[in-house]
């Protein structure tokens, strides 16, 4: 028996990292929101690695924070180790990563959700999406309850028709033995949504008491912790940090894997789903990098509450007996007790080309989605999409313009643009190389790039916004001061230069010019910069980077100008591609299917050639000219 329950503005399906951000964004924008989860004990669960951030993913978290999302704040509260990666490289690739206490992370997020006004949590399985005339009307749960609503955000993660597999062992469950969701896929298919089947995997967890850490290298956290959130005061989160450990596989390990590879469901054909190329299992690595005699293995604590250690770098779907042999061949793991087996998981997700850049389905009004359901992988990728989907579902209900972030503005923009434009047939992972303009998209300036947008949407408070404005002013005036402060070739200056192995001055120069020297920094010049005011570390960082890399930044900005030219050529939604002469059939079909927002986006659709783009450009110029004439 079905019956009608209470109405909501926004329904969020799934309380993983995408669902939590989506629900919080929607509720914080004052919309009556309900968040469904299959188990209240798995809210914001981290079923795979016990860390947040890392190369390029750290950027995503800081961007989420700059827009008013929760992930950064939550990891700041619950981290047990923090590290800035790639510090020997340029500032564009510095990336934050923090080890989390998994249970604390989950509990803390649940606490925030439960105490957010306008937000209700509900343990129930959503089995049906209700729509009329291709417009969302509500959802139905397994018990038959109907929740009428204006927008739905699907964040089902890896739960749809999930199967967990290692060797010949198959469990029809979601991650960690949690119940799979076996009905929603059919409902979506009946709405005409195209589904994919992907797979991903996780390594074993091993009891720390069975590990010999003396055979491993200790990996410490940073002494000075940089918080993820721009709102967190670093002083407030200082704590004693827990170490991780590094060890390596060896030829013996690889031999064991090779000898048993036929029993891997990936190679035997039992797994049909496509896995992530960039997050490979140890089997994949042994096959792909056959010439490498070892691979890194990081041993990471799952939390303070447990002895379980996560064996990063060795995800696998080999049978249990092989897993024992394999892990025990690694130095320090000779006596390893496996608490949880490694496994691969297969699940249903969508072809994300069905989405607009707002993450709303093109064909169903009011249906949004985010996270692994959209074909991505990773907590951070999920959270980023969840946030954008949550904001845009709210904007939709409020009858406002969606928030769309482009490739030149944020990794979030790159992530979403790639998902909805480029055809991918494997779980999408964020990577540094995917961002063309990464010198501008640094983790250190995410607030400057995005907080204004978060403010305009309504997720950033007036106070926080004013602080940002003030920060920008301070950065700018300090930069101007440095560009205009001249220092002569006097004794003090020459001494300082000599101390820092910098060539001596022949004539006077500006402080900014000195900062541009590779061997010098803003901080080093303190002695000869008499009028310097005391500034906070984050302002100094911006001033230093902006001046030091000025030339590169300018050149990258020019590349962005080029990009924007095509991006700003908007294709009117009503444009009839059938009326455009000379388009090739394939291009016409793709364009009709994808309805790109701009010429720029059209040019990134595979199957649309430069010649097609030019035809379109010509037609559009003509079309717009005619339109403007009609108006006059």
């Amino acid at each position: 028996m079905s019956y009608i329950y209470e109405s909501y503005d926004v329904v969020v399906v799934g309380a993983g990292h995408a669902g939590c951000e989506a629900a919080l964004a929607s509720a914080r924008l004052s919309l009556k929101t309900i968040l469904f989860t299959i188990s209240m004990d798995s809210v914001a669960m981290m079923p795979c690695n016990p860390n947040i951030g890392g190369t390029s993913k750290g950027h995503l978290v800081r961007e989420i924070d700059a827009l008013g999302g929760e992930m950064g704040v939550n990891i700041d509260k619950t981290y047990i180790q923090s590290k800035m990666l790639n510090v020997s490289k340029g500032p564009a690739v510095h990336s934050l990563r923090a080890q989390a206490d998994k249970q604390e992370y989950s509990k803390s997020m649940r606490n925030v959700l439960e105490n957010t006004p306008n937000l209700i949590l509900k343990q129930a399985e959503v089995t049906e999406i209700l729509a009329q005339d291709r417009k969302i009307t509500g959802v139905k749960t397994y018990s038959g309850a109907i929740y009428p609503c204006k927008a739905v955000i699907l964040c089902t993660g890896t739960y749809l028709n999930a199967r967990c597999i290692y060797g010949e062992t198959v469990n029809a469950t979601g991650p960690n033995g949690l119940k799979a969701a076996n009905y929603l896929t059919d409902s979506l298919k009946s709405l005409g949504i195209e589904m994919y089947r992907f797979k991903t995997g996780t390594p074993a967890r091993i009891d720390s008491r069975s590990i010999d850490f003396s055979k491993m290298e200790e990996q410490f956290g940073d002494e000075t912790v940089v918080p993820f959130s721009f709102t967190t005061n670093p002083e407030d989160i200082k704590k004693e940090q827990i170490s991780c450990w590094l060890t390596y596989t060896n030829e013996n390990t690889h031999e064991i894997i090779r000898a048993n590879i036929g029993r891997s469901p990936l190679f035997s054909g039992d797994i049909k789903g496509t896995g992530p190329r960039y997050c490979p299992s140890i089997e994949d690595k042994v096959v792909k990098f056959a010439d490498k005699d070892r691979h890194q293995v990081f041993i990471e604590p799952e939390g303070l509450y447990t002895n379980e250690m996560y064996i990063a770098g060795m995800s696998s779907s080999l049978p249990e007996d092989v897993q024992y042999q394999m892990y025990r061949s690694v130095p320090g793991l000779e006596n390893a007790q496996i608490v949880r087996n490694a496994y691969a998981i297969e699940y249903d997700c969508i072809n994300p080309l069905q989405l607009k850049a707002s993450l709303e389905f093109k064909v169903i009004d009011g249906l949004f989605s985010g996270g692994q359901f959209n074909g991505s992988s990773g907590y951070e990728e999920a959270a980023a999409q969840g946030l954008i989907a949550g904001i845009n579902a709210a904007m939709k209900v409020l009858n406002k313009e969606p928030l769309i972030i482009d490739r030149s503005e944020a990794y979030i923009g790159v992530l979403i643009d790639d998902l909805v434009t480029k055809e991918t047939h494997e779980p999408y992972r964020m990577m540094t190389s995917r961002a063309e303009y990464r010198l501008l998209l640094r983790q250190d300036n995410a607030d400057i790039r995005l907080t204004k947008k978060g403010y305009e949407v309504g997720l950033i408070s007036e106070e926080r916004y004013q602080k940002l404005i003030q920060k920008e002013d301070e950065i700018n005036s300090e930069m101007i001061r440095l560009e205009n402060t001249v220092v002569g070739a006097n004794k003090e200056v020459q001494e300082l230069l000599q101390q820092n192995q910098s060539s001596l001055l022949n004539t006077a120069t500006t402080l900014a010019e000195l900062i541009r020297r590779p061997e010098l920094t803003y901080e080093m010049l303190e002695k000869i910069d008499i009028k310097r005011r005391k500034l906070s570390a984050d302002i100094i960082e911006q001033v230093n980077i902006n001046i030091k890399y000025d030339g590169y930044i300018k050149r990258q900005l020019r590349q962005v100008d080029q990009f924007k030219k095509l991006e700003n050529k908007i294709i009117p939604e009503e444009l009839d591609y059938m009326a455009v002469p000379s388009l090739r059939i394939e291009a016409r079909q793709k364009l009709i299917k994808f309805k790109p927002l701009s010429i720029g986006q059209a040019s990134r659709i595979s199957g649309v050639s430069p010649a097609d783009v030019s035809v379109l450009l010509i037609y559009l110029t003509q079309y717009n000219y005619q339109k403007s004439k009609e108006k006059v």
Partner: protein, 458 residues
């Protein structure tokens, strides 16, 4: 739309006669005011009436560059519907270039190929039906255009550029891969390797630049094919157009067994003239190859000049040729008008709708008419021109230069010990600049390429 001011040489690369520098855009008048000096008095062109012609000098830093006639045309009654200036220069191509450079120095930008026409289009001077016709030819023409612009770069040069781009891309990919997978891909010592690569690549581009300066790279014009039966006078026609004894001319039919190609400049219109073997049914194997080649050439010609020997009767070979040229832009020449006529002008008019001219190459009569006919076809838009040689040259030079500049910056970054991730910014710029040279870059550029189809200097 941008309203910056553009300029280009509107005439072809000719060593003789008049060269025109055309300027279009908001600043056209302020630019001409700052470089034009009247013969006497202090005439200021922006104060003069539209559509008038003025005698004077182009002067730069007190130095006279050329004696000129300047046509001034004020918006909107101009081809582009913008302020337009045409400077008629007299001193040959070197001076014309110098005048252009002066104009550029005073704030104009070098026009992209076809940009004048593009502006005419954007400003509504050309109507929709014309533009749609453009759209229709894009796909047919675009491929061809691309091919043509690629052909301009002689095969080896094209391969060189492609290879350069591949090498740069490989280095970019390596850096990116190492950033994403530092465990498996090491950048240890890579800067040294990259520095060597960049130096090699720069040397190649330097070489290309030198060659393009000599004008070796680009050679393109209206593909004009001379066809006819053996001994109709095709080679003589080519020789008289070119002005030297390039083709072997004998009285023996079938002497031109292969094709000969020459570039001539007909008052600014560049013709790539191809002389072909006489078309006839033949058993001679080598001659047969020549005939087949002639037919193939004729098929993809922009313009066919069909030479008939009016002193002999029409036969089945003529029928074949008449059929061949039926749907092509063609001019028929009734040669040997000095001899006794077997075919009359009237006879041939009944057989074709093409223009027919009676000439005698030997007596040097009728050639002026031929030139006039070609010019008319060209200016009435019947013949289109693939490239403005000078502009293309300039554009490619600009792209080469900026690629070179970007590579220099990469080297600078390496020397300064910058982290590897900085290299890719300038490597990418170099890659894209080279892409522009061979037309593998989408940007607004492709649109401009379409418009460059119209005609030279417009």
């Amino acid at each position: 739309m941008t309203t910056d001011t553009i300029a280009a040489i509107a005439t072809g690369l000719s060593n003789a006669g008049i060269g025109i520098v055309r300027i279009s855009g908001d600043d056209a008048f302020s630019i001409i005011d700052s470089i034009y000096k009247p013969k006497s008095g202090n005439k200021i062109l922006s104060k003069e009436n539209s559509h008038t012609l003025h005698y004077g000098y182009i002067v730069e830093e007190g130095q006279m560059i050329d004696e000129v006639m300047v046509a001034i045309m004020k918006a909107p009654r101009t081809y582009t519907r913008e302020n337009t200036i045409e400077i008629n220069c007299h001193g040959g191509i070197v001076v014309v270039r110098k005048v252009l450079e002066t104009v550029l120095k005073h704030g104009a930008r070098i026009a992209e190929p076809g940009e004048f026409t593009k502006r005419a289009f954007l400003n509504g001077r050309i109507d929709l039906s014309q533009a749609e016709a453009v759209c229709d030819i894009i796909h047919a023409k675009n491929e061809l255009m691309l091919k043509n612009s690629l052909n301009q770069l002689r095969g080896t040069v094209l391969e060189l550029i492609k290879d350069l781009r591949m090498r740069i891309l490989r280095d970019i990919a390596y850096i990116e891969a190492a950033l994403d997978d530092p465990e498996h891909i090491s950048l240890e010592g890579f800067d040294k390797e990259l520095s060597e690569h960049v130096q090699e690549e720069s040397a190649v581009i330097d070489q290309l630049l030198t060659e393009s300066r000599n004008g070796k790279i680009i050679k393109e014009g209206i593909k004009t094919v001379i066809v006819g039966k053996p001994n109709a006078g095709k080679s003589s026609l080519l020789n008289s157009l070119v002005g030297d004894e390039r083709a072997i001319v004998t009285d023996i039919a079938g002497t031109t067994r292969d094709t000969l190609e020459e570039t001539i400049n007909l008052n600014g219109i560049i013709l790539n003239i191809i002389d072909t073997a006489g078309i006839r049914d033949t058993k001679d194997v080598i001659e047969k190859i020549g005939v087949e080649k002639a037919l193939k050439n004729a098929m993809d010609a922009d313009l066919i000049i069909y030479v008939l020997d009016s002193s002999t009767n029409l036969d089945e070979n003529d029928e074949v040729i008449l059929n061949l040229v039926q749907n092509k832009k063609t001019i028929l020449l009734l040669n040997k008008s000095d001899l006794e006529q077997q075919i009359s002008y009237e006879d041939i008019l009944k057989k074709t709708s093409h223009k027919v001219i009676s000439i005698s190459i030997k007596e040097n009569t009728g050639l002026k008419e031929l030139e006039k006919a070609i010019k008319e076809m060209f200016f009435e838009g019947e013949l289109s021109f693939n490239e403005d040689i000078y502009i293309t040259n300039e554009r490619q030079r600009e792209s080469f230069m900026s690629a070179l500049e970007s590579l220099k910056l990469v080297n600078g970054s390496i020397d300064a010990g910058m982290p590897e991730d900085f290299y890719s910014i300038d490597l990418m710029n170099a890659y894209e600049s080279l892409g522009k040279v061979i037309g593998e870059n989408i940007e607004d550029d492709l649109v401009n390429m379409i418009f460059k189809e119209f005609c030279m200097g417009k």
